[in-house]
Structure formats: C-alpha cells, structure tokens
C-alpha cells in the first residue's frame, strides 16, 4: 500500500469518524429511532469512487468499529453494521457503473438499503415485526438525506478531488 493512499484513507476514516461523532451529539430530528442525516455517507461515497472496493470497505469498517467507541454503543453497532452492509451492497456496484455526477442516485438507493438493513435487524433482534411500520418514514428521510449527502459527495469529488 502506497503511503499516499494510506494517508488519504486514514484521513477519510478520521473525517468520517468526526462527522459520525458530531452527528451523535445532535438531538434527534424526528422522534423516530434511526432518523439521522448520515453525513458520514459522504466519505463512504468518496471512498467508493476514489479507491478499490476493498479499501472503501476498510474505511467503512474502521469508522463503524471506532464509532462504537466514540459516542456510540455496541448495541447500536449491530444496527449500524447491518445498515452499512446493505447500503454498501447497493452502492458498491452502482459506483462502478454510475458516473460521479450521478453519485446522488447511488447515495439515495444506498440510504434506502441502509434503512432496510437496520429495520431487518431490529425486527430480528426484538422479534417485533410491527417495527416495519417505521420503514416508510425512515426510507423517506433516508431519500432526502441520501440526496443531500450524494450531492455533497459529487460536488467534493468533481470540484475538489479530481482537480
């Protein structure tokens, strides 16, 4: 691994962690569990477009695990990991076929996948199928947040990184 790439990856993990931490300090926007802007997704998107899939996965995994230490909890880690796994499963192939200016499409679909993963784990863990009732609200807020983070990421990529 080249030093330059390693530095970039470490920086991005740090940035994602910081975003994640600041976000955990914010009060919940809506009285529904899990409604968060998910701004750390900006970093995930950039990583997917900048690095090989394996390196992007590494950044996300590092952020998740370190995030559990910083302002998170290990019970939340399970939900976050499930959400991120589904989200990555959606965004990774899309990032290979969608040009950077369409990052928001990958981001929105990834966010929807994130919510789906979280609810699936919540249903499985609590054995409460009626939690599915939260899915539409979560997905809707996920779409909006996903569009926002997607636009931020493609702006950063096209204007700052690629230059």
């Amino acid at each position: 691994m080249k030093t330059r790439k390693l530095t970039a990856m470490a920086l991005m993990t740090g940035a994602a962690l910081m975003i994640h931490y600041v976000e955990s300090l914010l009060p919940a926007l809506v009285p529904v569990p899990g409604v968060k802007p998910g701004l750390a997704n900006i970093v995930t998107l950039l990583a997917l477009y900048m690095f090989a899939p394996r390196d992007a996965l590494l950044i996300v995994a590092a952020r998740l695990i370190l995030g559990a230490f910083v302002g998170g909890s290990f019970s939340a880690l399970l939900y976050a990991a499930a959400g991120s796994a589904v989200s990555l499963a959606v965004m990774l192939p899309l990032s290979r076929v969608l040009p950077p200016r369409y990052m928001y499409l990958a981001s929105i679909l990834g966010a929807a996948g994130h919510n789906l993963g979280q609810i699936a784990v919540a249903v499985a863990v609590t054995r409460t199928p009626s939690l599915v009732v939260y899915l539409p609200v979560l997905t809707l807020s996920g779409c909006i947040a996903g569009a926002f983070t997607g636009f931020c990421a493609s702006f950063a990529y096209l204007r700052l990184i690629k230059k």
């Binding site: 499409l105 679909l109 409460t128 899915l135 539409p136 609200v137 997905t139």
Partner: protein, 127 residues
C-alpha cells in the same frame, strides 16, 4: 449503456421515494382513535377507551384455544401475557397503528382501534 444505467437508477429512486411517501402518509394517518376493541374469533368481546389513567385495566380473554391477558394502561393497550406458542402478541407491544393490529394468530385474537363513525378527520371515511 451508461444512459440506461442512469435511467434505471432514476426509476428505482422514484419508485423507492413514492413507495416511502405512500407508506409514510399511511403511517402518519395510523392514529387509531380514542377507543379499542378486542376481537376473539371474529366477535368483539370487549370495547373501551384506548388508554387508562391510573390503575391499568386488565382484560382476560379465555377461549378453548388459550388465554391472553390484555392490559390497558396510560400508554395504551398491549398483551401482558399469553399461553400461545410464539408469544408474538406479547412481544409486539402496544397497539400503535390502525393499520397494524395486535394479533395472536394461534388464539385468533385481534386488538384494534375501534372505528368510530363521524369522529375525527374526514379522511377516515376512505376506509
């Protein structure tokens, strides 16, 4: 090829968004109302207010299939205990949505918000 992918993604995003929007509208309208009813094997065996201030109200429902103890307290109505195999009715918690009744399938028990005609928003008519 690229345009095809982009178009497919735009369609997928629109579909997800519209589905979520429709679901959210339904969920936000979920508020069931002031009174609930307990239905055992198709017949209403109890109806009353959806909440009980102070002491909780306990409604035991005993049939040949089994027993469910329904509790109505300050938060709402739920199944306190049951002797059904899966215990799904107990773990599903409080009745929250008019679209998602609390059910105990093995005992054929349904706890739902009572439909109160003429009360509340006009869109309750579209049922």
């Amino acid at each position: 090829m690229r345009n095809k992918t982009v178009r497919a993604c735009i369609f997928a995003v629109l579909a997800v968004f519209l589905l979520a929007l429709a679901g959210t509208v339904l969920t936000l309208r979920r508020d069931g109302g002031e009174s609930i009813e307990i239905v055992s094997d198709g017949t209403v065996v109890y109806s009353g207010p959806a909440k009980a201030e102070g002491e909780p109200v306990y409604v035991p429902v005993q049939t040949e299939r089994g027993m469910n103890l329904v509790r109505i307290d300050a938060e709402g109505v739920c199944v306190e205990s049951a002797d059904c195999p899966g215990q799904e009715c107990v773990s599903s918690g409080y009745l929250k949505s008019a679209y998602l009744p609390v059910v105990c399938l093995p005992h054929r028990l349904v706890i739902r918000f009572a439909k109160t005609p003429g009360e509340g928003a006009p869109d309750a008519v579209s049922e």
